[in-house]
Amino acid sequence: MKRWWRAAARAKLLVYVAVVALLAAAPALLEPYTLNLVTLAYLMMAGAVGWNWMGGFVGQVSFGHAALFGVGGFVAAHVLSSSSLPSPVAWLVGGLAAGSFALGARPTLRLRGPYFTIASIGLGEASRLVFTYWDWFTGGASGLSLPLMRESKQELYFWGLGLAATAAAISMLIRRSALGLELLAIRADVDAAGDVGISAPSLQTRMLFLSGAVVGVSGGLYASFFGFIEPNDMFGFDRSVAFVLMAVIGGLGTVHGPALGAVVFVLVQQSLLASYPELYLGLYGSLLIAIILFEPLGLSGLGLRLGRRIDARWLEPRRAAATAARQAGSP
């Protein structure tokens, strides 16, 4: 995996760092309400990007990731309430717990396409029911409060930014590495991939753990952010659906699409909840339908098309002209 060092050294990383630096300066400019919204967006970005590693990179669409979000959140909450360990440690523990819990779904990995999805719905819902019932862990239907708010919202802003940036960086590195290539091969033809030595089971297991862990960490931060979590919200089917929507809106399988989708989702959610709360399901449903039929890569796809059109209309003629000028100039 030495190649990822080389990938990291490329110019694109500079752009990336610049963006993060800009965002880090934001608290000085934004008012608390907006800041909180952006923080929430960061958490959802991390979750969507993490979800996309399974749904987009591996190609196994999960409608049960809320289980991992919930496990991460509640484990972190317990660590925070019952010990004086620093918050980041609690969040990491939540992430590891979620990742390990995700590994329990390993036998379902060999299911193809829709079967995996349906199994994930089953696992997600079963987890919700069991964990809601286990009221020591989740506080039952009434939820769990953290006794103290350890961080200020501003501190959480930076932690959220860090998490989202890390998740996005990991996404980029995976895609550019040999692992990314193997994942693409598995998506194209899992049997032919085996015939050239690629072990789909071990790669998929690794991604399952990673995906669960990142979603779990975002769950932990979510707990710290609100100071109160309840199982129907954390483990709910709507939460699982949200991850799917974010990734699909932004671009299933792309590197940064899900992050973009998460931002759109959070913004739309906020404005919808204000004006037309009773329409959000229908809106998302219609959006899904429209995306699948017209632009399967969502916003990323639209961006690519726009880029190609700009290239065709303005950049290509310039290139052609430059080549022609060079040829005319030489003897």
């Binding site: 299911l111 079967y115 089953g122 019932y133 449903g285």
Partner: protein, 291 residues
């Protein structure tokens, strides 16, 4: 002992309903290779349609059945012609068909919320509370009616598939769609009709379910998963297989109530689903749904 007998009876009656739900899903999957994630939504629509007809027009649900089936059939054909036909067929469809139909389900749910609010509803007729004596216990009239219809409708379906031209065309397309175009079968029309039949069965199952249990717009998720359990366990194309699988599921659920706290009994279906998929994807009878 009497309690066991009661439970087994409940299971048998419940199995009929599950089998009906499974047929709709299985038919669409068997022929189009598409998992209809909107299945739960259509079941919910069938329930509401029947309820509306009963509340507003006083129409008896069992008499309304053909009407509800006709409407949901039309809806299925519409869904196919407008949306589903654009998807790539088979494995290449992958997440696309799932997401598309899931989107449809979300829209249906929202429509139901807007039209009917989130409150629980149920279809209560004048004879809902009547029961008939049966070997020392009592069977509710509704459950018997549901069982009866759950036996009749699939039989009718079987006859349709084996005796009529259209039915044979559907079976042929399920086996080899390309060859069908070569012999002059209008495959797209067959797909549309099959999708409609699948949704019609789902609608019927929804209506019948509404006479037994309460429902609300979120209704259908559990039914979708249970239908899937029955389809995978029972295999495709086997009426016997589907019936046995439905019975197994119903028995497990009914007896689970004895052992588990009531809150967790709905988890039983979900757990069974995962177990079946992982341990016995080949099913018990009929054509295996997987591989």
């Amino acid at each position: 002992m009497a309690q066991v007998f009661d439970l087994v009876l409940s299971a048998v009656l419940l199995a009929g309903l599950y089998a009906m739900m499974a047929y709709g899903l299985g038919l669409i999957y068997g022929v189009l290779r598409v998992v209809n994630l909107a299945h739960g939504g259509v079941i919910m629509c069938g329930a509401y349609l029947g309820w509306v007809l009963h509340e507003r027009l006083g129409l008896d649900p069992y008499l309304a059945l053909p009407l509800v089936m006709a409407v949901t059939f039309g809806f299925g054909v519409f869904l196919y012609r407008v949306l589903v036909c654009h998807l790539p067929r088979g494995a290449a469809g992958g997440p696309a068909s799932l997401l598309l139909l899931f989107g449809v389900w979300l829209v249906l749910r929202n429509a139901a919320y807007l039209l009917f609010t989130a409150n629980d509803q149920v279809i209560r007729t004048s004879y809902s509370t009547h029961s008939l004596p049966f070997f020392g216990t009592f069977l509710s009239v509704n459950r018997l009616a549901v069982l009866g219809l759950a036996l009749v409708i699939p039989l009718a379906l079987q006859l349709f598939l084996s005796r009529t031209y259209l039915g044979k065309a559907i079976r042929a397309v399920a086996q080899n769609a390309d060859s069908c175009t070569l012999v002059g079968v209008d495959v797209e029309r067959v797909y549309a009709i099959t999708f409609g039949l699948g949704t019609a069965l789902a609608g019927a199952a929804g209506l019948l379910s509404a006479t037994l249990f309460s429902f609300n717009p979120a209704f259908g998720a559990g039914e979708l998963l249970k239908s899937f359990v029955v389809v995978v366990l029972g295999g495709l194309g086997s009426v016997l297989g589907t019936s046995v699988a439905a019975l197994i599921l119903a028995l497990v659920e009914v007896f689970a109530i004895l052992v588990l706290p009531s809150y967790l009994t709905s988890a039983v279906g979900f757990v069974m689903l995962v177990l079946v998929l992982v341990l016995r994807p080949g099913g018990l009878f009929g054509r295996p749904v997987l591989g």
